[in-house]
Structures are given as C-alpha cells and as structure tokens.
Symmetry: C2
Subunit: 209 residues, 2 copies
C-alpha cells in the first residue's frame, strides 16, 4: 500500500488523492502542513530534498516527488493513462504545460492569496504577471476544450486531473473563469466522473504519523 505525504489544501497533493480515489487504490495518508514548516524538517528533507508535497513512498524508503510524475506512476496500465504512444506524449505535453504555464501562475496566486496570511502584500510585485500569464494559459485551455471534451485521447485521463487541480480553485487566486465557457463545462465533466472526490475529501485510511 502506498504512503502519500500530502497537504489537504495543496492542489498538487489533491491531484494524487483524486487519481487514487478514481483508481480505488488504498493508501496511507500523512498530512504535512507546509505552512507550519513541516516539509522543511530534517526528517522530511531526507525523504524529499526539494522540501515539497506531494511525495509518494513507492517502495520501502524510496520516494517519488513531483505531482505529475506521481500521477504518471500510479496511473500506468490503467484507464487513466492513454496507451497510444502519441497520445501518451500528448498527455505529458499538457502535464508539462500545467507545471510550466498554469501552476506557477494560477497555483501560486491561489497559494499566496488564499492560503498565506498577508500573502497579497508580500507578493504584490508578481500579481500582474500571474494574472497575465495565468489568463494566457486559460485561453489556451479554453480553445482546446472548445473542440474536445477532455484534453487527450477523447476521455478522462491524468492530463485532466493535472489541469483540474488548480483550475477549479482559480477564483481563490483572483481569476475570473466566467469568460472561459469551455473550461467551466470541462470542470463540470471532471466533477461528474465516477469516484470523483472534492479537494477537501479525506480518505478513510487516514493515519497521521
């Protein structure tokens, strides 16, 4: 059984919880409050020198970091991962887009404006860049979703999970999704998937360390 180090309010952590729920994979959950410095302790840094969650123990004392790499690993061979080589690469394309164009803008805005007390003042110098670049990412997504129900392979995959995590809380980072009709319809399609769980959901197998 996997052990997942996760923070409840982290979109990156939520991706993994959502994928494991859809896959009906049991796991042990360890809550790590990065806002309280719990990802910067010597014990945690020994597991992930980058000091971040999510982190998945994939074998005894072997840890995998980076939310989208974890999605790729847990979804291998399942219906959440495309099988065709080009479609597999297209899933990765959207997952890299997520980590490079969406998460650094929408995810970071969500983090500082919604989770960190006083974050708006601390990060004021970045707000315009986040808004401009985040809206550029949303326009690219909206254009794609105008022609497709899901991002890749004509069905719900880990690419959708990766992009859903921060898009569905974009309003908490000051983004207005009302112009992005296709994105809003896609959010609803993701939320109607069997075994979908919300970000505030906690599994029954929870066990704090």
């Amino acid at each position: 059984m996997y052990t997942l180090y996760s923070m409840q309010s982290s979109g990156n952590s939520y991706k993994v919880r959502l994928a494991l729920a859809v896959l009906k994979a049991p796991y042990r959950l360890v809550e790590v409050d990065i806002l309280q410095g719990e990802s910067r302790t010597p014990e945690f840094l020994a597991k992930n020198p980058n000091g971040r969650v999510p982190l998945l123990e994939v074998a005894p004392d072997r840890y995998l970091a980076e939310s989208n790499a974890i999605l790729w690993y847990v979804a291998r061979g399942t219906e959440l991962a495309p099988e065709d080589p080009i479609e597999r690469a297209e899933a990765l394309q959207w997952m890299f887009f997520e980590q490079n164009s969406l998460e650094p803008n929408i995810g970071t805005a969500y983090f500082w404006l919604s989770l960190v007390k006083g974050g708006r003042d601390l990060q004021e110098h970045s707000l315009d860049d986040w808004m401009e670049n985040g809206n550029r990412a949303l326009r690219v997504m909206n254009a794609h979703l105008t022609k497709h129900d899901f991002f890749v392979a004509g069905r719900f995959t880990i690419a959708d999970i990766a992009l859903y995590a921060y898009t569905h809380v974009a309003h908490l980072g000051d983004f207005d999704l009302s112009p992005y009709t296709a994105v809003r319809h896609w959010l609803a399609r993701v939320e109607s998937q069997p075994d979908y769980v919300a970000m505030d959901w906690q599994p029954q197998t929870i066990a704090a360390e």
Copy 2:
C-alpha cells in the same frame, strides 16, 4: 523523418536537438525566431496554439509541444529512457522539476537578460525571485549530484538533457555556478557524451521553410 520547429538560442529547443543528435535521428529543422514574432503568426498558432517552440511534427499535421514531452516521445525505447517503472517515474520527476523549479527561474533569466534587448529593465521586479528560486533549484541538483553521476538510473538519460539545457547557460542569466561543484562536474560529464552537440550546432539536414 521528424520536422522540428526550433529556435537556435532557446534552451527548450536545444534539448530536442541534443537528444536527436545523440540518437542519430535525422530530422528537418525549421528555425522560428520567437523574438521576431514568428511563433505568433496564424500559421504557427494553427500548429501550436500555445505559440511556443520547440514543436515536433510527429505525424502528418500532428504536432507535439512542450520540450520534455517531446524528449519523452523521441527517446521511447532507446538508451536515453530508463525501462524500470520507478526509474521512468524518477526521470519524469526531474523533468517536471526542471519545468517548474529551474526553467521558470534560470531559463527565464537567461531569456530576458541575454536574449531580449532591455530585458533587465523590463523584468527588474522579478530578478530577485528568479535568483532566489533558481539558486534553490541548483542546491537541490547539487546535493543529488554529490551522490550520483547522473540524475536517474546511473546513466545519461533524457532527465540529464532536460536539466542541462538551461543549467549550462545559467551564467548568462547572472547565476554563479562556482559554488555548485557537483553540478559543474556533471555539466562536463554531459559534454563528454558520445555525439554531444553544443547549443550553437546546426544539423546538416537543415532546411528552412
């Protein structure tokens, strides 16, 4: 034969040129000068709505974007891609780290400080963040490389190619690599690989459109 849309001075484009050279894969190269707006033309946006290079035509009129997704695709089944499932995920872990922690800081600093005229003044509000976050990424890499010759699987893989591209031009973005001894030794190991090509290298198969 692949057609690669690339900009010579783009680290993300260079990753693909380096991988294809190491793999001895012939390809047609189309130079796209994003500084002259060539990635924002209607013709190019029809190929990649995100308006970026590199872009690889993987089948007639089917285009793959995002440098690391392209690396994954062209390296599948070759010595540049690990075979073990955990090591494959670890390669992706470092490639997502590259796009989330390194490229947005070191790559962006290289772009604005070295390629864009007057970029230093335009982006002054971001310089401290890039320096802090870029050095944090370099510390994580240096710690790993103190214990490992390469990032994953004990050998040269696409994870090294992804991380090499912007690290080896970090000095052009004001980063000082002298404290990162293990990183500098790793750069030299990458440069000693068979069929290594430098960023300013152009293949013999070049054919402008």
